[in-house]
Each structure stands twice: as structure tokens, then as C-alpha cells.
């Protein structure tokens, strides 16, 4: 029964919404809504980033990944660690979490 915002919409209790002061459409409010700006740039994407979907389905991705792991030569003595670190590539997070321990 209260006249709230636009039109006479029914409500259970006529005292509901009585405190609400609807905006008068003839005189628009001068307050602009608050906007939030980030204070740092850590989360900005790199300027040349292109997001695209993976062409291979998940099964094929698993086959390729396991094949790459097998064919990559195992780490030898510790002195060989330095040159091998440069050819390490980031592993997708899917792989490490999806394999149940057998």
C-alpha cells in the first residue's frame, strides 16, 4: 500500500517502506556513486596477452604431457642442474592435481 518508488505496489504491512525516500525523478541527485580504483599494478595483464581456448582436448593434453615427461632426460648429477633449469617450462596446474596417487 505504500507508494514506493514507482507505482503503488502492494506489501503485507502498510508501514513497510514508509521510511524510504524515493529519488525524485524530476530533480536528479547530485551525488555520483563512489567508484573504486586499484592502488597497485600487480594484477594488470601484460599488454600483449591474448587469451584463447586450447585446441587439444584434455585427454590429448594428458597424452602430450606424459609423453614430454617421459622423453625429457632425467636429471643427472647436481652440476648439471643449472643448464637444465633454463629449459624448464611451467606446468599447467591441471596436471599436478588431477593424478590420484596409485
Amino acid at each position: 500500500m505504500g507508494s514506493w518508488i514507482v507505482g503503488n505496489w502492494p506489501s503485507f504491512d502498510p508501514h513497510n517502506f514508509s521510511q524510504l525516500r524515493p529519488n525524485d525523478p524530476s530533480a536528479p541527485s547530485k551525488k555520483t556513486p563512489i567508484t573504486y580504483h586499484p592502488t597497485h599494478e600487480r594484477t594488470l595483464p601484460p599488454p600483449d596477452q591474448v587469451i584463447s581456448s586450447e585446441a587439444k582436448n584434455i585427454l590429448l593434453r594428458q597424452f602430450y604431457q606424459r609423453g614430454d615427461e617421459k622423453l625429457r632426460p632425467k636429471r643427472a648429477a647436481p652440476e648439471n642442474l643449472a643448464p637444465e633449469q633454463e629449459c624448464k617450462h611451467p606446468r599447467a596446474s591441471v596436471a599436478s592435481s588431477s593424478q590420484p596417487p596409485k
Binding site: N57, L59, Q62, R66, P73, K74
Partner: protein, 536 residues
């Protein structure tokens, strides 16, 4: 969650409630719990054809004449009769409505096989986008065929196999592809795999995988033939360098393994006609070698490991032949390799088999597994649906219950895994179905494991003949109240008096309508008993 079972209540719910994201097909399927093929017309008078299957979109019923020469296509329709009495539900159908023709309209009959050929009645593939059907006719098998022209010894030969591509709307033959003196496994479409518009045909005798494309115009176009040569220009390269090779003296066989390079590297084999291994075999062997090499870091251990794991079994690896192939996506094939003896025998359990994933574009082998590989089994358990390649063209084929998309099927698999005495034997039993046969499962929602529970030994989505029982096959609701919804009983209504003769049944379920055919046959060429199960 408690869901009301009353169909009217469900329809009202559907009006106001949107389904959870991604489950609209599952929500629509729940209505099949209410609409079931509960009524049966026993022993319907029908033409004496062997009914093969309904197409996946439900538009056609494919059948072959008894003499395996003609194709007859029907359109599934529905009964049309009206009942003027007051209490119609309890009335039985009038006799003239209980006919085969009430449900099926004959569209046309096309002779596919000429005099000496027979239609292979187990073979049918459907390309849904253009409504094309692929059929096969063949002449008789010759068992002791000599191995000429690059053929493998031990594989039988068929003089002529013809694949016919038909437009099912009107029965016009659009294209044909003939294979002469070859052997392709046509039973249950095992030697052919269709994925969207790509067709892979395995020629067992010449060890080639022919990749064809079905164009929209209806022509079959050769894309490539993998086997002897992997890339299109391999043959040219080898022929041009064959002249220089033949002039060089034969060296002693090299012991160091070859790395997988682009084209033309070979292992020299003394005292053999052709010094080259086939292209795909070369790829496979070099992949195996690289895998064994990279396992060990010590040079001496590496050579030991190679000797033990590779060179000891070298001849076995070289003797492997391609058994079966399926697509994993448009560029990748899953190939099953095995011995020559296992290729043509019915029981493949005792023969060792291997799986390889092959990329057709880069011509590389990506993975290689043994039959009892734990790794392959875990991939199969997690990603079974990706082995049943999901086709973009047909939506409802992607909802067939498997243990990757259905909790009940997964529990069944897990319980049989726990019950198995030997894990490697269990893996072998599960992986024997790989690579899958194309279009071998029915998309009918009555086989959806989350809707109905039924005895998998008596009936299932896979279309193969089963031993017939006298008792009707029950379909029970999965959800509470777990009631019996409908029964399918093959064979005559009164049951069969003669229990000695073995009877087999096959079931054809329409993909969308509550309509099913059950066909019971004895092995003595007596006419089959066909029942129609439908919803009244």
C-alpha cells in the same frame, strides 16, 4: 532433493524454474521417467527383413532384406486411431491398429549388392549433418590368400569390398569406394570409424589407414593413406633416393638407435626385399627407443636397458600390425597394434596388444602403451567420454551414460575393480573395448543410468545380440520411489515352449520416442519374432 513425480506437477515446475547451468538436457530427460514404452504388441506381422537400427536422429529405421541384397528404409511414425468410448485407457487396441505399418512407413528399397556380393548387415554408419548413410557390400572371403603386392601373410582376402554412400532422404547412391583384394573388418563396423565428416578405414591386409572425407555434396574424397608412407610426399622422396641407395654396398646393421627425424631415415635389414620399414612402424619404433633411452641417465645402464627392453623384443615389435583405429580428434588417431594371429581370431584376449596415439599432421607418435598399462587405465577411467569422441553435429549422442559422466556407472566400475582378483587382468578386460566401435551405443534416454536401473547382461545401450530369457527385462527407477516403470519382454507373449533351442534377442530403441523393437531369433533361420514396445 525430493522431486515430485507427477507429470503435471513437473510441467508446472518447468514453467517457473530454470534448470541449473549446463543441465537442460538432463532436466528434459527426466520426463522420460513418466513417459515409458509400457505396452507391447507381441509377434507383430512384419516384413521379413533384418532390422538393423534406428538412425541417431530417429528419422529412419534401417533394414536389409533376408537375401542381403537390398536396403529398405522406413520412417518411424505413430499410431493414429481414435477411441470414442468413455473409458479409453482400459480399452485394448483394435486389431487393425496392431500392425507394423501403424508405426513405420516404408520409404524406399534400394538394391545395393549385385549378384555375387552381399550386404554386410552388421555395418552401418550415419552422418547426421547431411543425413548420409554408409553401407558396405562384399564378396566372399578367401582364407588362404597368398601375400602378394605388399600384403601381410595370414590375413584373409576379399575380392571386392564396396562402400556405398547414400542420401537417406530419398535413397540416392551418392558415391562408392571400392577396395579390391583387401580385408577390412566390417563386422560391427570395427574396421571403419566415422567422426563428423572424416572416415578412417583400416585395411588389415595392406596395413594402411585410409582417411577419407565425406563432402556435403556427397562425394568421398581421399585425404591420406597412413601406413607405408606417413606424409603425402614420402613416396616421391623414397623413390628418388632409392636409386642412390641401391648403388651403395649393404653395410652391417647399425646398433645405435635412430632419432625420429622428418622423412626417409631407415633401419637396414639384411636379406629382405625392401630395406625400409613402413613409415608408421618407423615412427613407432623410434618413439619406443627414445622412451627407453631417456629412462636411464647413465650411458652404460642405458645400453643395457635398450638391449633388454628393445633389442630382445625387436622382431616382435617389427611384426606388430595395425588392428583397429579410432579418431581422438580431427588430427589424432588411437591405433591398436597386435600380432598377425590376433587380428583375425575372435578371441583377442590371449594375444598381446599395444596402443599408440598418432598425430596425423605432424606424423609423430605421441604415446605408446601396453595392454595392461596402469597409466592408460587411469586416463580411461577419468576421461572415458573423450575416447567416445564427442561429435559437434549431434547433441544427444554426447549424453550416453558412461563412467565419466554418470555416478552409477562409475560406482559399478569401481565395485568391479575392487572385486577383481588381479588388477592387470581387470585393466586388460576394460581396455579390450578400446578403440571403441563407432556409433555402437544407442542414445535412448531409457538407457540413461541416472534414470533407470536394468540388468546390463540382458539389455544395454550397446547394440549386440544377447541370449534371450523368458522373463521380461525390468526397468526400475533410479530415484525414489524406485518403482518398476516398464518391462521389455522379447519373444511371444505366452513364452516359448521349446527350451532347448538357443534364442538370441536384439533390441532397437528409438532415440527420442517411447518406441522400441525387440527381435528374437533362433539360430535355425526361422522367422524372427518382433515385438513393438510403445507408450499407449
Amino acid at each position: 532433493m525430493f522431486r515430485r513425480h507427477n507429470i503435471t506437477a513437473r510441467i508446472f515446475e518447468r514453467q517457473i524454474r530454470t534448470p541449473s547451468p549446463g543441465t537442460s538436457v538432463h532436466c528434459a530427460r527426466r520426463f522420460y521417467e513418466n513417459i515409458v514404452p509400457g505396452s507391447t504388441i507381441y509377434d507383430v506381422e512384419c516384413p521379413d527383413h533384418s532390422f538393423r537400427k534406428f538412425t541417431e536422429d530417429g528419422k529412419y529405421l534401417i533394414s536389409f532384406s533376408r537375401d542381403h541384397q537390398d536396403l529398405i528404409v522406413y520412417r518411424p511414425t505413430w499410431l493414429s486411431f481414435s477411441c470414442k468410448q468413455e473409458d479409453c485407457d482400459s480399452q485394448d487396441l483394435p486389431v487393425k491398429a496392431k500392425k507394423f505399418e501403424s508405426f513405420f512407413t516404408r520409404l524406399y528399397s534400394v538394391p545395393l549388392a549385385s549378384a555375387s556380393e552381399l550386404i554386410c548387415k552388421d555395418f552401418f554408419l550415419y552422418a547426421e549433418t547431411n543425413q548420409f548413410g554408409l553401407f558396405a557390400t562384399s564378396t566372399a572371403q578367401i582364407y588362404d590368400a597368398p601375400a602378394t603386392g605388399g600384403a601381410i601373410q595370414g590375413v584373409p582376402s576379399i575380392e571386392k569390398i564396396t562402400f556405398h554412400l547414400l542420401r537417406l532422404e530419398d535413397g540416392v547412391v551418392l558415391d562408392e569406394r571400392v577396395f579390391r583384394n583387401d580385408y577390412i573388418n566390417l563386422a560391427h563396423s570395427m574396421g571403419v570409424f566415422l567422426f563428423d565428416d572424416l572416415l578412417a578405414i583400416v585395411s588389415l591386409r595392406y596395413q594402411r589407414i585410409h582417411i577419407l572425407q565425406i563432402r556435403d555434396s556427397g562425394s568421398l574424397v581421399d585425404l591420406r593413406a597412413i601406413g607405408e608412407f606417413c606424409r603425402e610426399d614420402d613416396e616421391l622422396f623414397l623413390n628418388s633416393s632409392a636409386q642412390t641407395i641401391s648403388s651403395v654396398d649393404k653395410r652391417a646393421p647399425e646398433h645405435m638407435p635412430m632419432n625420429n627425424a622428418v622423412n626417409g631415415l631407415h633401419l637396414e635389414q639384411p636379406a629382405q626385399e625392401n630395406p625400409f620399414l613402413t613409415g608408421i612402424k618407423q615412427r613407432l619404433l623410434s618413439f619406443i627407443v627414445r622412451g627407453i633411452q631417456s629412462e636411464e641417465k647413465d650411458e652404460a645402464m642405458r645400453i643395457q636397458s635398450l638391449k633388454k627392453k628393445f633389442y630382445f623384443h625387436f622382431q616382435d615389435y617389427v611384426d606388430l600390425i595395425i588392428w583397429k583405429v579410432q579418431f581422438l580428434d580431427r588430427h589424432h588417431l588411437l591405433i591398436k597394434f597386435g600380432s598377425v594371429d590376433g587380428a583375425v581370431s575372435r578371441n583377442t584376449d590371449s594375444h598381446p596388444a599395444f596402443f599408440a596415439v598418432y598425430n596425423m599432421e605432424s606424423t609423430e607418435i605421441i604415446a605408446f602403451y601396453q595392454m595392461s598399462s596402469d597409466e592408460l587405465y587411469s586416463l580411461f577411467e577419468q576421461f572415458c567420454d573423450h575416447f567416445h569422441v564427442p561429435s559437434k553435429s549431434s547433441l544427444h549422442m554426447n549424453f550416453i551414460s558412461s563412467h565419466s559422466n554418470n555416478i552409477h556407472a562409475l560406482e559399478q566400475l569401481r565395485s568391479s575393480k575392487n572385486k577383481a582378483t588381479s588388477f592387470s587382468l581387470f585393466i586388460k578386460k576394460v581396455l579390450v573395448s578400446l578403440p571403441f566401435n563407432c556409433q555402437s551405443q544407442s542414445p535412448s534416454p531409457y538407457f540413461d543410468q541416472s534414470l533407470f536401473r536394468f540388468d546390463e547382461k540382458l539389455i544395454s545401450a550397446v547394440d549386440r545380440h544377447r541370449q534371450s530369457t523368458d522373463h521380461p527385462i525390468k526397468f526400475i527407477l533410479r530415484r525414489p520411489p524406485h518403482t518398476l516403470k516398464f518391462k521389455i519382454k522379447p519373444g511371444p507373449e505366452a513364452g516359448v515352449t521349446d527350451c532347448r533351442t538357443k534364442r538370441i534377442s536384439s533390441f532397437l530403441f528409438h532415440p527420442t520416442l517411447p518406441l522400441a523393437l525387440s527381435i528374437q531369433q533362433t539360430l535355425f533361420l526361422q522367422p524372427a519374432v518382433v515385438n513393438i514396445h510403445f507408450r499407449r
